[in-house]
C-alpha cells in the first residue's frame, strides 16, 4: 500500500499563490476558503530580515488531531494515508477546526459566490451543496489520485493523477508521491535533503515534508 505525501522545497517557493488558485478552482472552494495557500512570513528586525513562503494546508498526519476529536467518525484515515471527511457523517461541530494545529480546516454555512450578483455559471456547474455546514479541507485531490490510479497512471509522475497544487506549481517546489516507495520523487528528496515537518513536537507525524534553506 502506498503512503501518499508531499515534499515542499522552500528554497524554490516564491509565494505566487498559483497552487492556491489552482486548488480553489479544482475543488471549487468558496470565497475566503483555502484548502491550500501559501503563507508569507517575515522574521527579524530591519535590516536583518528574512522572508519565507510556506505552502500550508492539511498535513495528512499519521496521528491527526482532527481525527481524534471527531465525534461522528466523519473524519477518517484511508489506508494510503489520506485524511478525508465523509460529509454525510459530519455534523459541523467544528471540533476538528479547533483541534487542527495547522489551521487547515474550514466551514461555511451558506453557498456564496465571488460576486454579489449571485453564482456565476462555473460556480453553478461545480456547486457542492454537500459541503455546506460541514468541515472541509485538502484531500490531496483524492478524486484525481483515485481516477488516475484507476487509469493506470502514477501519482506524482502523471499530472492527471497528481494533486493540482503540485501539477500547477510554477517553481517546481512541490512534489507528491509514495513515501513508502524509496524510489519515489518524495522519498528521494527526503533522502537527499534536510527536511522538517511542521510542529513535529506535537507528534502528528505529518506527511508534508519541507526543505528549508
Amino acid at each position: 500500500m502506498s503512503r501518499w505525501g508531499m515534499v515542499i522545497d522552500l528554497r524554490k517557493c516564491v509565494g505566487c499563490q498559483t497552487c492556491t488558485i489552482a486548488c480553489k478552482q479544482t475543488n471549487n472552494t468558496p470565497p475566503k476558503v483555502f484548502w491550500r495557500w501559501v503563507a508569507d512570513i517575515e522574521t527579524g528586525e530591519y535590516p536583518d530580515v528574512n522572508r519565507r513562503f510556506v505552502p500550508m494546508g492539511c498535513q495528512h498526519c499519521t496521528n491527526p488531531p482532527c481525527f481524534e476529536v471527531c465525534p461522528t467518525t466523519a473524519t477518517y484515515k484511508r489506508p494510503d494515508g489520506i485524511v478525508d471527511i465523509n460529509y454525510n457523517l459530519c455534523i459541523g461541530c467544528a471540533y476538528c477546526i479547533v483541534a487542527c494545529p495547522y489551521l487547515a480546516r474550514n466551514i461555511v454555512f451558506e453557498t456564496k459566490s465571488y460576486y454579489e450578483t449571485g453564482l456565476i455559471p462555473p460556480e453553478q456547474v461545480l456547486a457542492h451543496p454537500d459541503r455546506i455546514g460541514v468541515a472541509t479541507k485538502c484531500n490531496f485531490c483524492l478524486p484525481r489520485v483515485d481516477a488516475g490510479l484507476a487509469r493506470g497512471l502514477k501519482p506524482g509522475v502523471d499530472p492527471d493523477a497528481t494533486p493540482m497544487c503540485v501539477g500547477s506549481c510554477i517553481s517546481n517546489a512541490m512534489h507528491f508521491g509514495d513515501l513508502d516507495d524509496p524510489d519515489s520523487i518524495v522519498s528521494r528528496y527526503i533522502a537527499e535533503n534536510d527536511t522538517v515537518r511542521l510542529s513535529e513536537e506535537l507528534g502528528t507525524e505529518s506527511a508534508m515534508y519541507y526543505i528549508v534553506e
Binding site: Q17, I21, E42, Y46, R51
Partner: protein, 907 residues
Amino acid sequence: MSTTKVAEYCYQCVAGPDLLNVCVEDGVATRVEPNWKFGDIHPAAGRVCVKAYGLIQKTYNPFRVKKPMVRTNPVKDRDADPMWKEVTWDEALDLIAQKLLAVRAKGVRDESGYPRLAVTFGSGGIAPAYTGALPAFLSTWGPVDFGIGSGQGVKCYHSEHLYGEFWHRAFTVQSDTPRTNYLISFGNNNDASGGVLGVWRHAQARERGLKRVQFEPHLSVTGAHAQWVPVKPKTDAAVMYALLYTILHEHDWRKECDVAFLRDMTNSPYLIAPNGLYLRDETMRKPLMWDETENRARPFDEKFTPAMSGTYITSGITIGADQELTNFENVQVATSFQKLIEHVREYTPEWAEKISGAPAATIRQVAREFLQNAQVGATIEIEDKTYPYRPVAILLGKTVTNGWGGYEALWGRTMLAVLVGALEVPGGTIGTTVRLNRPGHDRLASARPGPDGFMDQPLNPTDKENWVAKPKIRNAYQTLVPLANNSPWSAALGPAHLPWLFMKEPPENWPRPTTPEVWIIYRTNPAISHWDSETVTEQMAKFPFIAAFAYTPDETNWYADVLLPEATDLESYQLYRIGGTKYIEQYWKHQGYALRQPAVEPPVDCLDLTDIGTELAKRMGLLNEYIAVLNKGGGTGIALKGKDFDYTLPNDVAPTREEIWDRACRAATRELSGGAEEHDLAWFKENGAFFVPFPEKDWFLHGAMVQKGLRYELPYQERIWRAGLELGNRLHEQGIEWWDTQLHEYSPLPAWKDFPDIWGRIAEAFDKNPDDYDLWLLTSRSMQYSWGSNVGIPVLADVAKNVKGHFGVMLNAQMAKRAGINEGDAVWIESPLKRVKGHAIVREGLRPDVAVTIQQFGHWVTPVAKDLNMPNLNQLSPLHLALTDATGSGADVVRVKIYKANGKDGK
C-alpha cells in the same frame, strides 16, 4: 456531464505567452489547467501562473459590458454619468465609421500636423496577441498617433529598451538563468514580474546553488531568496559605479577582467582626443588604436594587438556634432578604457555608502564574488560550438532603468558585464528580443555592421537635413529621442506622457498640441495607470470622440462615446508566434505558433476583433487595402504567401475570421517547417500549438558579433553624445530651450548626479517645502494582478491577500511606531500634488524612509476594484517635464508624507 479541454495561450503579461487548457463542462468554462502535453517543449513544463486561472471569472464576470453602448449625456466629467444606451453592433460600427469618414474627408492630419486618429493599446507589448486582424485595418488608414500614453515610459523598462537595444540588441535584458551562478540584482523582481519561465528557471537555479544579491529599498518577493541590501531609491547607479571602481582600482583588472574581450569586442582600445571624441585617421576617418609594437596609432580594423590603457602622443582628426572636423597634431590621447579607469576613480565604496546606504564592505564583497564567479577564460560547448562561459549576470528593476539615473544605471550594469566578458555569452547577461530594429523575430540578424566597427544603429536623425523638426505624432519621439528609432514600436516608446502634459501646458515654439478627433482605445486605462491621473482625465474629457473596447465600465471608458464589449481571451481567435527568444525570460529551445480560440459561447454580445477589423474596412471602403495588408502579414504577423505556398485571400470578398486564421495557420506552419508540414485551423483547435526546434546558440548575440567582426559600443559613448549635441543644435535653432535639462544626459561616460534630489526638489514646483515630504513612495509588481483587466477579478483578490502588501501601503515598523501608526490604520499619503487614503501594512522588510504600494489601483468606476480601497501612486505622481529624462521616461518614485487619517493632521 460532458467535459472537453480547449487549448489556449495566456499572454496577460509581457512575460508570456504560456500554454493552457480550459476545461469546458456542459458548455461552461469551469477550470484552467496547465497544458502538460507541451511539458517537454515549454521551458516551465507547460505551466501557467496564477493569473491564467482567473480567466474563468474573467469570462463570466457579471459586470462585463454586455452590449455595444453609446453615450447620451454629452457632458464628460468624473461626476457626470455617461447615461449609456444600448445599440446594435451595426449601429456602433456605423457610428465609428461615420466619424472616421468625416476625419478622412478633412484630412488625416490636423492643422498642427498631428494625426486626427489616435489609437492606444495598453498592457505593454501584449496587445498584439489579442487584437486579431484589427491592426491590418489600422494599417490601411495612414498616419495614426500610437503615442498617446497609458503609462509606458514609467511602467515598462523604458530606458532599458532603448539603451539595451542600442548596446546589445536587448530590448529586454535577462540572465542566462539556466547557467548563471551569481546574480546581482538592483530591484529586479523577477519572481513577481518574470512570468512562469522566470519563476521556474530561477527556482531551479537556486536549487543548484545560484547566489543572488538584491539591492533594493524593500524586501520584495524576489529579495526573499537573496542577500538583501537595502538601498535608497534611485541610488543604484552609485553602487554600480562603486563596483566598477572596486574592480578597476582595488583588483588587478589585467588578471581578473576579460582583457581579450575588452580589447577585441569593445571600444576600450579606441583613442580619445582631448575634445572627448574618437581620434581618427585623416584619410579613412576610422577610429584609431595604439600599436605598442610599432609605437603608432593605427585604424581599429587593422590586424594588431592594441594597447588597452595608457596615454600616448599622436595626431589625427575628430568628427564632432554636425560633422565638425578638428585636427590634432601631436597631442596627448588616452584609450577609452583609460578614460573609464579615470572616470570611476572617485566612486569608492565609501562614497557609494554615503549616497546609497549600501555598506562599503558589502560592495567590496559583491565585487569580489562577482569576479570569482565570472570564471574568466572558461568556455562551454553549445550545439558543437565553443563559447565563453561567464556565469555572472546583473539585472535591473523597472524604477532603476527608468527616469533620471536610468542611463547611468544601464551603462553601469552593462559595463560590469563587459569587464568580465559576460555580455551575450552563456551564463551571462543577455538580450531576449528586439523591437526597435528589424527583423523583429531575429535579433541576431538585426546586428548589422555599421560605422566605426559597431552595429548599425538607425537612430532618429539629428542632422540639419533630416531631423524631423515638426513632430509627426504628439509625443514627438522622432524629434526629441534619437534612441527611440523609428520602428513600428517606436511611437509607443517615445515620451508617451508628453501629449497629456503638452495638452495641459503647451510648450514654446512647438506645434499647437491638439486633441485627436477620434481616439480608439483597447485594454488600456490611463486614468488609472498614468502618472497624475487627474490631469489625464481632465484632458481626455475634452476628446471629441472616444471609441473604447470595454471589458467592464472603467475610469477611462467613463469618458468614451461608444463602448464595444470586448471579446476576452477565451472568446476570440488568434494565432501567435511563441518560443524562440522573446520578452523577459522567454527563451526556448523551440519556436512555433499557438492558437487562442473561442472556448465557450460568450456570455455577452461581443465581437471578435478580427471581425471588427473586417467590418470597419468594409464600412470605410477599404476592404481591398485591408485584404492586401492581411495577405502580406500586416496585422497578424503571418504572410499568407511564401516561397512555395499561396494562401492569399481574394481581395473583393470580406473574409470570415475562420477564413483568415485558417489561412494564417497553413501559411505559418508551411513557413516555419520549410514546407514540410501544413496544419489548418481545425488542427490547431485540436492540438493547440505547433513547434520546431530553435537553436540554443541563438540565445546569445556573441556568435553573430564574432562572425560579423563587430564590437560592442562600450564603454565610450561617442555616438550617443554626438546625437545629443546635434539634437541640442536643432532644438536651439527652433528656439526650443525647454528640453535643455534632458540634453545634459547625453555624455560619453555618464557621471553620477544627485538623482534622488530631482524628486526631492519637485515640491518647489508646487510651492511646497521639500523637507515636508520625508518618505519615498515606490511601487512593486503584483504577479496576481498584472495585467489584463485583472483588478476586477475577485478570486485574484482572494489569493493576492496572502502576499504581503496587497490592499494597503507598506511602512517600516520603526517609522510607523514613530508616527503612531499601527497595522491596518487608515493613513493619508500626501505628495506635493495630492493626498490619497490607504491602510497601513507594517513590515520590517523595508527602509524606514520608504513606503511601498503594490500595483495600480485607486479605481472609482471599475466594478470590484473600486471596492478594494487601494491607494495608487499614480494619483500622487506629478506629471512634470523636470521628472522626464532624455529618453522620455520617468520613474515610479514620489516624495510623500504619511500620517494617520484620524490623527491631528488628518480627518
